[in-house]
Symmetry: C3
């Protein structure tokens, strides 16, 4: 409840107001003079549609919604209200090391300068909340074990797609992303996938969305959660991007269903014991 009140405060306040109030003050829904004085309807949508409905829907936790929103804002380079949403993420259970991991992940999936801008937005929040490096994941960590077989298949598919035209990029995809970044334990693979698909959808980059959505399901994101994330991103990434994403999700979900049926049929035919 406290978190949901903060949600309202963040949405209804201008960035400046939210920053001034959110840490010190009671996290009550404060109507923002700014929005209402320029667009009265927008203030009503903020309260009735976003704060009271969208963020309270049970299909996706407030923690996940804040991860989706932070990822969308970083990927879209929209930093004005990012500090307020970073605070909201911290207040709804996202750990500082996870925020740090999200920013690092998006340096590669959204662009280096997006991460630099996110660092600048996160820094004052970390200072204010006395979050020191001891609360963050160190630069070098014991990596998660790689799924060698699956990664070989991935590398072969990358090699086929771009090995002849961009061999260095194919190499970096393995060395920098899948044998390093994706194996860092500061984010769970499921959250890392959620961050990735949120960034892709929020910026309308659909070329790799089907692949990353499939990976997300394999990493433990449920179809229901992915579906709610897409709806959430309609608000923070614009309706057209979400709509296009939903059509891609339909195909991915159907393939997942067929793959499962085949698997189940095989299992019933070929018992393992």
């Amino acid at each position: 409840m406290k978190t949901l009140a903060l949600v309202t405060a963040v949405i209804l306040s201008s960035a400046a107001t939210a920053l001034a109030q959110s840490s010190a003050e009671p996290r009550l829904p404060v109507p923002s003079d700014d929005i209402g004085s320029v667009a009265p309807a927008l203030e009503t949508y903020a309260q009735a549609t976003l704060a009271d409905k969208l963020w309270r829907r049970p299909g996706l936790s407030v923690r996940d919604r804040s991860i989706v929103t932070v990822a969308a804002l970083i990927a879209r380079n929209q930093t004005s209200d990012l500090p307020a949403y970073i605070k909201l993420a911290l207040d709804s259970g996202v750990k500082p090391s996870e925020l740090s991991g999200i920013i690092t992940h998006l340096a590669f999936y959204a662009g280096w300068e997006n991460a630099m801008a996110a660092v600048a937005a996160a820094r004052p929040v970390f200072v204010e909340r006395k979050i020191g490096t001891e609360q963050l994941a160190p630069a070098h960590m014991q990596l998660l074990p790689a799924d060698e077989k699956a990664d070989e298949a991935r590398a072969a598919s990358v090699e086929k797609a771009i090995g002849s035209s961009a061999p260095q990029l194919a190499q970096d995809t393995t060395d920098v992303l899948f044998r390093d970044l994706w194996l860092r334990p500061d984010l769970t693979p499921r959250d890392r996938s959620l961050v990735t698909i949120s960034a892709l959808i929020a910026t309308g980059q659909f070329g790799q969305l089907a692949g990353h959505l499939t990976r997300a399901l394999n990493n433990g994101l449920t179809q229901a959660e992915a579906s709610e994330a897409i709806d959430h991103l309609a608000y923070y990434g614009g309706w057209p991007n979400a709509f296009s994403a939903a059509t891609i999700a339909r195909t991915v979900f159907e393939q997942a269903r067929r793959a499962k049926i085949i698997l189940n049929t095989r299992e019933s035919q070929c018992p393992t014991s």
Copy 2:
């Protein structure tokens, strides 16, 4: 003429200069030291190509050009010169309630934070021009009548496309957008369509452009106006986006022509009286 002089002032001035001069001062074309001192050719293009040609072409009114430009800048989150272009919009006949409606519309079609940034850009202009909420559309208004039959067809098509993968998004598309936002009378459906296609083109979101272009023609935007808007957006949204939009427009215009021929043929075969 006065408005066209202001156009030149806006284009040729840096944001700061334009803001300082446009309200108090005579709206004369002032060459900007800033542009010329970094890129002399760019200053010439500003005067000769944008101010003297593009904005004066009769195919699209200055009012419409300012709507297209404001929509493009909000959708692209480019707020430095947005206050100057908002003033230009007000000076060329866009009502404060319409600007308010544009920002609200784009909260959903471009992303919530784009609207928040637009509110921050519009606020000082509204204060300076003493535009109070009595000049804005209220949050709750008598909505325009829905075209029930057409909207049922739209909802069925959405349901087919994304109903299985994103049921909540399909529901919100009806409840929030087409049974509410699109029926608000603070923007005419024709202007709302112009804002929508401008945002889609300026951000290179082509998945729904054909549909929204068709809707725009049905809402009273002429093909000639849509065509000029695409050319205008080459300058404010980048040439490649406009070029891609023009290829989609070709298909949409051809379909509209064929649909009309079929209709005319039917009418001549089946006289209504």
Copy 3:
């Protein structure tokens, strides 16, 4: 070496630090407190992956990498660190007139307001380095000779694609872009192509990428350079955009190879003497 040290300084410093130090001070790699205090891993990637590896790869010169990076940042409207990268460009051999040409080119290929933001970012650097207009290309220059036959083919193809739906855009494409902007001698056609494809890739605008990549090869950019540029843009434009670009490059490179084989075969069959 001095330039590479500056590269490190730019990447590892926050924008503010880099600006403060780069001109007066020795250009040493200074670890940034900012990045490390929010994301320790990101600081390591900055040094080990970007500064020590990416920028030092011989496949693309530091001059070209700085052109690619500046073009990407302007096209993506990411101006915080743009002054630091503009300085790096100047220090690695990009002439002020070329930077001016890049900004002017991107006014049309990325959007007018992107160029305005770039002007604002470049101005203080030009002032600090005492770069006057005498070092810049004048607004009016003797244009490069047009390849009439090739441009007629281009115009015919544009006419076919968008002549019916956007005749003004088709006309402006000839008058403003290919009979004027592209013929300005302040950028070599090869560099102009490099700027164009960098902007397209960094913003995920793939509709015209194949055409501009083919043009780039014709203008003297090698496949190896284009390939390295795509890898470089994975870091500054996000991995997904670079990956999609690499799949398009594969097709373009294969077509170029086939065209060459056909040409060679013809030449051996039909000796010219």
